[in-house]
C-alpha cells in the first residue's frame, strides 16, 4: 500500500552506490570529459558492485537478485550523480543483458548471459536512435525483413554506446507492420559484414562515453539473432525501461547541479552576505529542489508500474519528458548561480549543463 520509503536493502544499495559515485566516479569526471577516456581500473571497480550481474539468475552466473525497476532507478540516479558518461559506460552491458534475460529464448540466454558473468567487465550495446532530426521510436526507419529463415536489416543508427567495443549489438528494427508493438530486437555480431561502425561520435556532452553511428546495409542475420525468436520482444516495455533509466539519471545530474550550486551560494559573498541569502538566488535554489523531488517521484511511479508488469508507456514518457526538462532547467540555473565561474571548464556545472541537454533527445542508452 502507499509508501514513500525505501526498503532496507534499497537503502543499503543506495548508500553503497552513492559512496562509489562520490568517491570514485566524481573525481574522474572532468578528466574523462576532457580526454574522452575512462580509466579501465574505474570500470573494473564498478564491475565488483554487481550492477549488471546482480539481477541475472545464478544459473547464468549472476547473483540471482530480484530485478526491480525502482531499485534500478535508484542505482541509475546515484551513478549519474557521479558522472553521466561514466555511469552510462558502467551500465552499458545491461543494454544487451536485460532484454536477453527478460525476453530472450533459452538459447539466447545461455549464449549471452553466461559469458557476461564469467569474469570482468564485458561491454554491451544496443542501437535504437536514428540519425535524423525527426527520429521517432514509434516510427523506426531501420527495418528487418524476412530472408529465408533469417533476416536482412537495413538502416542507420546513432548514439550507440560501446558499439566498437562490444561483441554484439542489440539492434532495434521495425518489422513489416508499423507501430511500437512490431519492433524487433536483433543481436548483430559486431563483425557482421553488413554492419559498419563509424569513428566515435563527437557529442556536446557525455564525451567520455564512446558512442557510434552504425550503417546496416543488407545486413544478414540468422533466425537465432532475433531476440525472443518467433515470439519477438515487448518493445514498448523495453522502451519504458530505457526511459525510466534515463529519467532517473536526469534526476541524478540535476541533483549534482543543485547541490553544487547550493553549496557555492552559501560560500560566495556579494553585497556583504552569501548570495544564498538573497531571494533571487534562494528562490531559484528552492525551485530547483522542488523539481528534483517531483521528477524523482514521477520516475519511481513509472518504475513501480514496470515492477508490477504493467504497461508503463504513458508514465515512462511523462517521467522522461519531465525529468529531462527539470534537469535542463536545474543545470542551467546552477551555471547561473555560479555566474562567470560557472562558465569555465573547471567547476562541473557547465559539464552538467551539456549533459543535461541530452536527456530530451537521448533514447536507449540505458535500461533499468
Amino acid at each position: 500500500m502507499i509508501g514513500f520509503d525505501l526498503s532496507d536493502e534499497q537503502r543499503m544499495i543506495r548508500e553503497t552506490v552513492a559512496a562509489f559515485a562520490t568517491e570514485q566516479i566524481r573525481p574522474a569526471a572532468r578528466p574523462a570529459d576532457e580526454s574522452g577516456e575512462i580509466p579501465a581500473e574505474l570500470i573494473a571497480k564498478s564491475w565488483e558492485l554487481g550492477l549488471v550481474c546482480g539481477p541475472i539468475p545464478e544459473t547464468y552466473g549472476g547473483y540471482g537478485d530480484q530485478r526491480s525497476a525502482v531499485t534500478g532507478a535508484i542505482i541509475a540516479e546515484e551513478l549519474a550523480f557521479g558522472d553521466l558518461a561514466i555511469a552510462l559506460h558502467m551500465l552499458a552491458p545491461r543494454l544487451t543483458a536485460f532484454p536477453v534475460l527478460e525476453m530472450g529464448t533459452d538459447a539466447q540466454r545461455q549464449a549471452f548471459l553466461k559469458p557476461l558473468c564469467a569474469g570482468d567487465f564485458v561491454p554491451g550495446s544496443a542501437a535504437l536512435m536514428e540519425p535524423r532530426y525527426d527520429y521517432d521510436a514509434a516510427a523506426l526507419m531501420t527495418a528487418a525483413v524476412h530472408n529465408g529463415s533469417g533476416f536482412i536489416l537495413n538502416g542507420a543508427k546513432c548514439y550507440v554506446p560501446l558499439a566498437a567495443e562490444s561483441s554484439s549489438i542489440l539492434v532495434f528494427a521495425a518489422g513489416p507492420e508499423a507501430g511500437f508493438e512490431h519492433v524487433g530486437g536483433f543481436l548483430v555480431d559486431r563483425k557482421n559484414p553488413g554492419l559498419s561502425i563509424s569513428a566515435p561520435e563527437k557529442n556536446m556532452g557525455i564525451k567520455a562515453l564512446r558512442t557510434y553511428e552504425l550503417k546496416l546495409e543488407q545486413c544478414r542475420v540468422d533466425a537465432g539473432a532475433r531476440l525472443g525468436g518467433d515470439r519477438g520482444i515487448n518493445f514498448p516495455r523495453v522502451l519504458s525501461q530505457s526511459r525510466v533509466a534515463l529519467a532517473a539519471m536526469a534526476v541524478g545530474v540535476a541533483r549534482a547541479s543543485f547541490e553544487y550550486a547550493r553549496d557555492y551560494a552559501k560560500e560566495r559573498k556579494a553585497f556583504g552576505v552569501p548570495i544564498a541569502a538573497k531571494q533571487a538566488i534562494a528562490f531559484m535554489l528552492a525551485e530547483m529542489a522542488i523539481e528534483i523531488d517531483a521528477a524523482r517521484l514521477l520516475v519511481w511511479e513509472a518504475a513501480w508500474h514496470l515492477d508490477r508488469g504493467e504497461d508503463a508507456t504513458k508514465e515512462s514518457y511523462q517521467a522522461r519528458n519531465y525529468a529531462a526538462q527539470a534537469c535542463l532547467t536545474v543545470a542551467d540555473n546552477a551555471v547561473q548561480v555560479l555566474g562567470g565561474h560557472g562558465y569555465i571548464r573547471e567547476h562541473p556545472v557547465e559539464l552538467w549543463l551539456r549533459n543535461a541537454r541530452g536527456f530530451a533527445i537521448l533514447d536507449g542508452l540505458a535500461i533499468v
Binding site: 509508501g3 522502451l239 528562490f283 528552492a286 504513458k314
Partner: protein, 404 residues
C-alpha cells in the same frame, strides 16, 4: 516500500466522494458562484450529516496492520475529490476548519473537548481562524490585534480580514473564531496567542463579507474586535509568554494544512484537465504518448504538460502528507507541495481556458470558474513566495534571520 496503490476500501470511498462532487456539487456550482452571498443550505445539511457519520465511524482512513492510519493523506484524497466538484462549496462546508485545527494543535485536552465536541452533534457549525489584518498578511508575526488582561477576561481590540467562513462561524452558527492577538507587543512572535471567541460574543462584529474573484460561495469576512471580552479559559494552551508554544504550535498546523490545500488545488486543476481531455476526445483530437516529442502538436504538448505538472504536484502532496502521518518531520515537503501545487494549478486552469478558445472564456462552461477558483490556492495557507522562502531556508539550513 515505494508504492502508489491505495487500499480497495479507500478507492471505494473516493468513488463515493466523487459521486458527491459530480451529482451534488457540480449541478449547483454555477448558481452559487453567481449568487455569491447566498448559502446552499440543502447541500450544507447533507454534508453536515455525512461528516457527523464519518466522525462517528472514526474517520475515513483505514486502520492498518503495518503502520499508523494515514489520516492526513486520506484527507488529501477526499479533499481533492470534493474540490474536483467545487472548491468554493468545499471550503464553505460546515466543519471545525482552521479554527478547529488551531484548537487541536494548541489546546489543552479540556479545551479540545469543550470546543471540538460540537462538530459531531446538532446543527451545522463552522470553525474559523482569524490571523490576517489590514496591515499584515505574510508577516503574521506583525499582528497588531491586542489582548489585554482585565480581571477574569482577555479583552481583544483590533481588526481581522480575509477570515474564511468568518461570518458563519461568528454569527450564523454555534461555532467560534480563533483569533491571533498579542498579549505583549514587545515580545514579538512569542507574545502572539490564539484566543477562541465564541459565536455572537459581544464586541466581535462581522463588518464586511468580501466580493471575490473565485470560491465565491465561501464567505470571507472582515471581523472587528472592539473591547471584545473573552473568558480566560478560552486562551488556547498557556498564557505564559515564552519562546516555545502558542504561535509555534499553530504554525505547526501548516505542516498538515499545506498538503491539504495543495490537494484542494489539485482537485481544481484536475477538473480543468479532465474537462479538456473529454473535450478533445469528443473532438477526436488524439493525445499520442510515446512518440517523438518533436512530432506532437502544440495542443498535445500543452495538454501533456498540464497533465504531468498536475501529477508532479499530486505526488509531492501525497509524500508530504504520508510523512506527517508516519510521524516524520515534513515542513520542507509540505511547503514544496504547496508551492508546486499553487503554481501549477494556476497555470493549468489558465491554460485550460485558453485551449478551449471562445468556449473556455464563456460563463456557460465551468472552466473559467475553475481558473478563478484555482488562483486562491497560491495565496492562502502561505503564498507561493512564502513557501519558496520556507523551502529555501530548509535546503540552505538558514533561519528566518539569515534569509528573509
Amino acid at each position: 516500500m515505494i508504492d502508489f496503490e491505495f487500499e480497495p476500501q479507500v478507492v471505494k470511498q473516493l468513488k463515493t466522494y466523487h459521486g458527491v462532487a459530480e451529482n451534488m456539487m457540480r449541478p449547483i456550482s454555477r448558481e452559487y458562484d453567481e449568487r455569491e452571498h447566498d448559502k446552499p443550505w440543502d447541500f450544507i445539511e447533507m454534508m453536515w450529516a455525512g461528516s457527523k457519520a464519518t466522525a462517528a465511524a472514526g474517520g475515513d482512513a483505514p486502520v492498518r496492520s503495518d503502520g499508523p492510519r494515514l489520516r492526513t493523506l486520506y484527507t488529501c484524497l477526499s479533499s481533492e475529490e470534493l474540490c474536483w466538484g467545487d472548491a468554493g462549496l468545499f471550503v464553505s462546508m460546515p466543519n471545525a476548519g482552521l479554527g478547529g485545527a488551531a484548537v487541536a494543535a494548541a489546546g489543552t485536552p479540556e479545551q479540545k473537548e469543550r470546543f471540538l465536541k460540537r462538530f459531531s452533534e446538532g446543527k451545522p457549525k463552522w470553525g474559523a481562524m482569524a490571523i490576517t489584518e489590514p496591515g499584515c498578511g505574510s508577516d503574521s508575526a506583525a499582528v497588531a490585534t491586542t489582548a489585554t488582561r482585565e480581571g477574569d477576561y482577555w479583552v481583544l481590540n483590533g481588526t481581522k480580514i480575509f477570515c474564511t467562513s468568518g461570518q458563519m462561524a461568528a454569527e450564523k452558527s454555534e461555532g467560534f473564531v480563533v483569533v491571533w492577538a498579542s498579549v505583549d507587543k514587545s515580545a514579538g512572535r512569542a507574545g502572539i496567542k490564539p484566543f477562541v471567541v465564541e459565536h455572537n460574543t459581544p464586541g466581535m462584529t462581522v463588518t464586511r463579507v468580501e466580493n471575490k474573484l473565485g470560491i465565491r460561495v465561501s464567505d470571507t469576512a472582515m471581523l472587528s474586535f472592539d473591547s471584545c471580552r473573552v473568558p480566560l479559559e478560552n486562551l488556547l494552551g498557556s498564557a505564559e509568554v515564552k519562546k516555545e508554544g502558542g504561535f509555534k504550535d499553530v504554525m505547526a498546523t501548516f505542516d498538515a494544512t499545506r498538503p491539504i490545500v495543495a490537494a484542494m488545488a489539485t482537485g481544481v486543476g484536475r477538473a480543468a484537465l479532465d474537462h479538456v481531455r473529454d473535450f478533445l476526445s469528443d473532438q477526436q483530437v488524439p493525445i499520442r504518448y510515446g512518440i517523438s516529442p518533436r512530432k506532437l502538436t502544440s495542443l498535445e504538448r500543452d495538454f501533456m504538460e498540464m497533465e504531468v505538472q498536475l501529477k508532479a504536484a499530486r505526488l509531492l502532496t501525497w509524500r508530504a502528507a504520508w510523512m506527517l502521518d508516519m510521524g516524520q518531520r515534513n515542513s520542507l515537503e509540505a511547503s514544496m507541495a504547496k508551492a508546486k501545487a499553487g503554481k501549477v494549478v494556476t497555470l493549468i486552469t489558465q491554460k485550460a481556458v485558453e485551449l478551449l478558445g471562445p468556449l473556455g472564456y464563456s460563463r456557460t462552461r465551468l472552466v473559467e470558474k475553475w481558473m478563478r477558483d484555482a488562483k486562491i490556492n497560491d495565496i492562502y495557507e502561505g503564498t507561493q513566495q512564502i513557501n519558496l522562502l520556507i523551502v529555501a531556508r530548509r535546503i540552505l539550513g538558514y533561519s528566518s534571520r539569515d534569509l528573509n
